[in-house]
């Protein structure tokens, strides 16, 4: 192939933008997974199913009700926040009460089981037909020779806004500080009067809401169907491994990085090799920097 196209600034910036759009989803998914792990110590295998519920939320709002896409984002975020809190209160919390040392394995079994149940429930309720929205926002514009669709721009900006709001929330609000404190030393947080059971519930709700927002945002790429969460959840695991498990800024950086790397891979590599690149990246990170690319050793969120 002609490698000189790599030097073409138009193609470069086009690929970077595509990568950032793709990375928006990875970042949202990765942060959600990382948040839940950082606070509760749970690897949430049902994270993809929360994405799936988000796609159905968006389909309902945009295609059935015909409301603007921002309503779908809000709806998905709110629904998944409550779904996440219900999962935590109803399933995780009782398990935590009983489980001691086997907590990690128990939580694996629980969330994998939840994944299967939610997929099948969706199949019973909605069937297997794919329900998509071809374009959320029609139209495009051109800037410096690159064509950017309004939809892609909206995906990118919405994700950026959500990530930004979450960052400000965690960083500056009292509740955000209590969440960080619980992630860093739950017992100490408890001695200071923080109701950590409540923090766990809110944390799980937030993580689920992020997955739901990701699903809602990407409905034109991932239409709603019961097992749509499969690919996004794999990517979000890639993101948390690359960024460092439980490390939220790491997940943001790794999400966008992975998006850009994949955009280049899709453009430059043949179909067979595209699928190899991400796992290869994971293997390399696990060999050379198992704590994640962006984690300072011994640091927690």
């Amino acid at each position: 192939m002609d490698w000189s196209i790599l030097l073409d600034p138009l193609i470069l910036s086009e690929l970077v933008f595509q990568g950032l759009v793709r990375g928006s989803m990875y970042a949202l998914m990765g942060i959600g997974l990382s948040l839940i792990f950082g606070i509760l110590g749970i690897v949430n295998f049902a994270h993809g199913e929360q994405f799936m519920i988000g796609t159905y939320c968006m389909y309902f709002v945009a295609a059935v009700l015909g409301l603007p896409f921002i309503a779908g984002i809000l709806f998905a975020g709110v629904v998944l926040f409550f779904v996440g809190m219900a999962i935590e209160r109803g399933l995780v919390e009782p398990l935590r009460r009983r489980a001691g040392r086997d907590w990690l394995v128990d939580s694996f079994v629980l969330t994998i089981g939840l994944m299967v149940v939610l997929q099948n429930l969706a199949q019973i309720v909605f069937g297997t037909r794919r329900r998509g929205v071809t374009t959320l926002l029609p139209g495009s514009f051109e800037i410096a020779g690159i064509t950017i669709t309004y939809e892609r721009l909206a995906i990118f900006l919405t994700a950026l806004a959500v990530v930004g709001l979450l960052f400000l929330f965690i960083r500056f609000t009292a509740l955000g500080k209590a969440i960080r404190a619980t992630a860093q030393h739950a017992e100490a947080a408890q001695t200071l009067g923080i109701d950590i059971a409540r923090i766990y519930t809110i944390g799980f709700g937030l993580g689920a809401a992020l997955a739901g927002i990701a699903g809602a945002l990407l409905i034109s790429i991932f239409p709603a169907f019961p097992t749509v969460g499969y690919q996004p959840v794999l990517k979000s695991f890639a993101v948390v491994i690359i960024g460092g498990l439980g490390n939220i800024p790491g997940a943001i950086a790794a999400g966008y990085l992975l998006g850009v790397v994949e955009a280049y891979a899709i453009f430059l590599l043949s179909a067979g090799w595209q699928a190899v690149l991400t796992p290869l990246l994971i293997v390399l990170v696990l060999i050379f920097r198992p704590q994640g690319l962006f984690t300072v050793q011994g640091e927690r969120p």
Binding site: R180, A188, A189
Partner: protein
């Protein structure tokens, strides 16, 4: 009587209690020290008082009210604070954020929170100097000061201290006990569990000895000074 433990039985499983009917009193404004060999149930006692463990028998009274069955996060509102054993700072948060979380239960009372910060910074100038640094960057001794400062933000009346000097360099150990002596001067009621018997006795007013989950001796510190070596020898 600030804190009264009556016939307390508690354990991690019902069949094997760690504490088997312990009785104990911590008097207002005094330092009460609990000593005993490893496995005597000293830390379990503090964890049971603070609501981490459910007693199967007995009662815990604070200022005359039963606090049995309360959860740990309700204890500061009862006026009781616990210094956990080992490192308990939030390492990736700043010193100031750590203190702010110490004031979690008074977070809506801005004036009181501001005053608490002023008092703490006056007492620990080094914490003020380093208030924007991550707490994890402090030295071991400074971290312990931060932990002590953090549990006193809301001016609780009773402090439970679990092995306050364990794991610190000898020079820092003295600093920690000096700080506890200052807290005593400020009339906090202190119930301290300690392996460092010598140091603990120096600031104690009243001493309890636990052994195998039961009371073995107790009395004012004066009555212990001469008997101490005999008691410690019994444990070996």
């Amino acid at each position: 009587m600030a804190l009264e433990i009556v016939d307390l039985e508690v354990g991690y499983s019902r069949e094997v209690p760690i504490l088997r009917g312990v009785n104990l009193c911590a008097r207002d404004g005094l330092v009460t020290v609990v000593i005993g060999p490893n496995g005597a149930g000293k830390s379990t006692l503090l964890r049971a008082i603070y609501g981490y463990l459910r007693p199967s028998r007995g009662d815990i009274l604070h200022e005359g009210r039963s606090i049995r069955g309360r959860t740990p996060h309700q204890m500061l509102d009862e006026g009781i604070a616990l210094l956990l054993q080992g490192r308990s700072i939030f390492p990736a948060m700043t010193v100031e954020e750590n203190l702010e979380l110490g004031g979690w239960t008074i977070r809506r009372d801005r004036a009181r929170l501001r005053q608490a910060f002023e008092e703490i910074y006056a007492r620990f100038p080094v914490l003020k100097e380093r208030r924007h640094d991550p707490a994890g960057a402090l030295s071991g001794g400074q971290q312990r000061m931060l932990e002590l400062a953090r549990i006193t933000m809301t001016r609780p009346r009773t402090l439970l201290l679990d092995e306050p000097s364990v794991g610190l360099m000898p020079k820092l150990v003295d600093e920690v006990y000096e700080e506890i002596a200052k807290l005593k001067e400020e009339r906090f009621t202190i119930l301290m569990v300690d392996q460092n018997v010598k140091k603990a006795i120096e600031i104690a007013d009243y001493v309890y000895v636990l052994n195998l989950g039961e009371n073995s001796h107790h009395g004012p510190v004066e009555s212990f000074r001469d008997r101490l070596e005999d008691i410690v020898r019994e444990w070996l």
